[in-house]
Structures are given as structure tokens and as C-alpha cells.
């Protein structure tokens, strides 16, 4: 297991600001991201000091360039679990386990809308990670609910290991989806079952299945790490951007309003400096 000083989840303005500030303080970082920052969609930004009349995409490109020049590499990957272990953390990035002394969450606002039956049947047939639970359903039926760009890859993985896969998507059939996967162009509306998943409802029909893999771009923060204190949809933080779990920080839109670029950048700096200081203290003692 590779261990670094700080793992940063998300590579938008908050995450990259945290990354460069950690590097400035001599800390090793790994940055994981699996989606484009919302900033890239802004048509025009006029309220970030020093940049007048610029598009969100141009700014995001500059931020990435800046980070790259300081040796920050952005790795493609979805973080599925974070586990505190003594004074450090283990992070599961789609099946790869990485270690860190501190974790900074910067994955943006979560627009996760839970399906009826989803949380009740989580771990009883409902799963968020094909590479984690897929093997349990070899020779059985699993349904993949497409909610992210790379959901088809996980569907193909399930098919490869011998799961009978049905791929439900509101979008057109992905070109690279394997031929033996059943493609249903519909939306999932409910998951049904008692002690385990029995079927799902879509707009048009009810489909029998043993498992439902819900593959979203991001997980609800509370599903990432046990015991994280929330304030509505946002993560509660203190003045140092530290969450209810010591050593885990949250920065950017995920901590609450205003959902603005300058605020995200500032929070990234605060968290990275505090985290770096704590790491130095441990080294000295």
C-alpha cells in the first residue's frame, strides 16, 4: 500500500488549491477525481480577483496547469470508502487501497438523489462498487443503474466475471457495452425486496434481479466514511475546515454556501496548511 501525507478527493478549485498548498509545505499528495468541476460549466466569471471576463473552462485549465507545474498529478478514480486506522487513513479508490495521514474531501456538491428502497437494501443486494461486490453475484442476475460516464466499464467488468448483467440507462446504449449485456432504455424508480433485493421498478416494467449496482459519479459523503457529521446536504466543518472526524477535512462547495470559486480556493488553503502543520507536529514529537 502506497502511503502519502495527504489524499485529496476531487480536483476542482478547492481540491487543487489544497494540493498546491500542501506541496508548498513539502507534503506528498495524491489527488483523485472522476468528474469535471462545475466551474468548467460557468460561462463567464467576474468575481475571482485578478481574472476579469474569463470563462470557467479557461480558469479550470489554468488551475490544472498551475497544479501540474508544481508536480501535482491528478489521478482518475472514484473514492468508495475511507477508513480511519489509528492516526492514519486507508482509502479505497475503486479497489486500489491507498494510505494517507490526512484526507481532504473536495468533491463538490452532492446531488445524489436516493431511490426508494436504496438505503434499506444497501449491503443486501444494493452496491455502489462493482469491483468490490461483483464476485458475490457470479452466475446470478445483477442490474446496473447508469448514473456516471464510466458505468458501462463496470457493467462490462461484471459481465466478464460471469454475472448476468442488465444495463438500465436513460442515455443511448454505450458503444462499448458488451453484446451479452441486456440494455434497457429506461429510468430506475424503486428497489424492492425484504431481506435482500428481489426486483426493481423502472418507468415501464418490473425487473427481477439479485443485485443492483448504482454507479454514480460520487457517493453521498456519509456513505464514504462512517460517522461524518452533516449539516443537511453539506459536511460540518470547524474553522480549520476539519470535519467531525479528526484528520479528515472538507473544502469547497461540499461545506456549504456560498458555492463560489474564491471561497473554495480559500478553504483549500486553510485545510492544507492545517493538515501540513499537524503532520509536522507528529514528526517532531
Amino acid at each position: 500500500m502506497e502511503t502519502v501525507d495527504i489524499i485529496i478527493v476531487g480536483a476542482g478549485p478547492a481540491g487543487l488549491s489544497a494540493a498546491i498548498n500542501a506541496v508548498v509545505r513539502g507534503k506528498t499528495v495524491r489527488v483523485f477525481s472522476n468528474k469535471e468541476s462545475l466551474l468548467a460549466k460557468a460561462e463567464r466569471v467576474d468575481n475571482h480577483l485578478g481574472f476579469y471576463n474569463i470563462t470557467g473552462k479557461e480558469l479550470m485549465d489554468k488551475f490544472r496547469e498551475h497544479a501540474k507545474n508544481m508536480g501535482v498529478k491528478i489521478e482518475e478514480g472514484k473514492v468508495v470508502n475511507i477508513l480511519p486506522l489509528g492516526s492514519s487513513f486507508m482509502v479505497n479508490i475503486n479497489g486500489e487501497i491507498a494510505g494517507a495521514k490526512k484526507v481532504i474531501l473536495a468533491m463538490g456538491v452532492s446531488k445524489v438523489k436516493e431511490l426508494p428502497g436504496e438505503s434499506k437494501l444497501l449491503g443486501k443486494g444494493v452496491s455502489y462498487c462493482a469491483t468490490c461486490d461483483g464476485m458475490l453475484y457470479r452466475g446470478k442476475k445483477a442490474l446496473v443503474w447508469d448514473q456516471s460516464q464510466d458505468a458501462w466499464e463496470e457493467a462490462n467488468y461484471l459481465s466478464d466475471i460471469g454475472v448476468n448483467v442488465t444495463f438500465v440507462s436513460k442515455k443511448a446504449k454505450p458503444e462499448k457495452l458488451k453484446d451479452n449485456i441486456i440494455y434497457v432504455n429506461d429510468a430506475l424508480t424503486e428497489i424492492l425486496g425484504g431481506d435482500s433485493v428481489e426486483s426493481v421498478k423502472t418507468g415501464r416494467e418490473e425487473i427481477q434481479t439479485d443485485a443492483v449496482f448504482i454507479l454514480r459519479d460520487g457517493l453521498a459523503p456519509a456513505a464514504l466514511i462512517e460517522g461524518l457529521k452533516m449539516d443537511g446536504n453539506f459536511i460540518s466543518v470547524d474553522r480549520n475546515m476539519e470535519t467531525s472526524i479528526p484528520g479528515v477535512y472538507a473544502v469547497g462547495d461540499i461545506t456549504g454556501r456560498p458555492l463560489q470559486l474564491s471561497k473554495a480556493v480559500s478553504e483549500g488553503l486553510i485545510a492544507a496548511q492545517h493538515a501540513a502543520l499537524q503532520i509536522d507536529k507528529i514528526k517532531e514529537s
Binding site: 470508502n81 477508513l83 487501497i97 449491503g123 452496491s127 462498487c129 468490490c132 464476485m135 462512517e226
Partner: protein
């Protein structure tokens, strides 16, 4: 893996264990399961910390499919605490040390 952990090799061995030991904590896992690798060191710590009161065992669900079916394991890691041979408590997924400590503390006299 902690030396205090028993690696279950058969259904019979498992049945005798939960019959003969009052408190048994069982980690259902498999070697392809990344979240199981995260929980493993936590289970090691539990085994050391509670070695006088609780027996800790591991069941590889690929090798012991009968046990996986009996306890309807649908996601791993699943950790079950047995009290006098019966399921007293169950935790599914990646959990911190405190969750497993709680499931033990709330069930032992």
C-alpha cells in the same frame, strides 16, 4: 493476520467453534475484496484487544460457500458477532474500530 485469529477450514470446524466458545466474532471475507483488506487490520486489532473475552475467526466465503449461504452474506466484509452460538449483531461494509468494539461491548456480560 493476528496469531489470535482462527482461519475457518470447514463448516464443521465453524459449528464446533460457535458451540464451544461463548463469544465469537467472525469476519466474512474474500481475497478479491478490496474493502476486506481495509477492515483486516481493524479485525487484527480487535483480536488483540479482546483476546481474553472474544474468539475471532475469519471465513473465506469462496472456500466456505455453505456458511456464506447460511448467513446470507450479500456484501463483504460482513462481520457477525455470535453469542452462545446465535447471531447477536451484524455489521456490513467498511467500519471503524469503534463499530466493532460497540458490537462486542453491547453484547458481552
Amino acid at each position: 493476520m493476528s496469531e489470535k485469529i482462527i482461519n475457518i477450514k470447514s463448516t464443521q470446524e465453524f459449528d464446533e467453534l460457535i458451540k464451544n466458545k461463548r463469544y465469537v466474532l467472525v469476519d466474512f471475507w474474500a481475497n478479491w475484496c478490496a474493502p476486506c483488506r481495509m477492515v483486516a487490520p481493524v479485525i487484527d486489532e480487535i483480536a488483540e484487544k479482546y483476546s481474553e473475552k472474544v474468539t475471532v475467526a475469519k471465513v473465506d466465503i469462496d472456500e466456505q460457500q455453505e456458511l456464506a449461504i447460511r448467513y446470507s452474506i450479500q456484501s463483504i466484509p460482513t462481520v457477525i458477532f455470535f453469542k452462545e452460538g446465535r447471531v447477536a449483531s451484524k455489521e456490513v461494509g467498511v467500519k471503524p474500530m469503534s463499530s466493532f468494539a460497540n458490537m462486542i461491548d453491547s453484547n458481552i456480560a
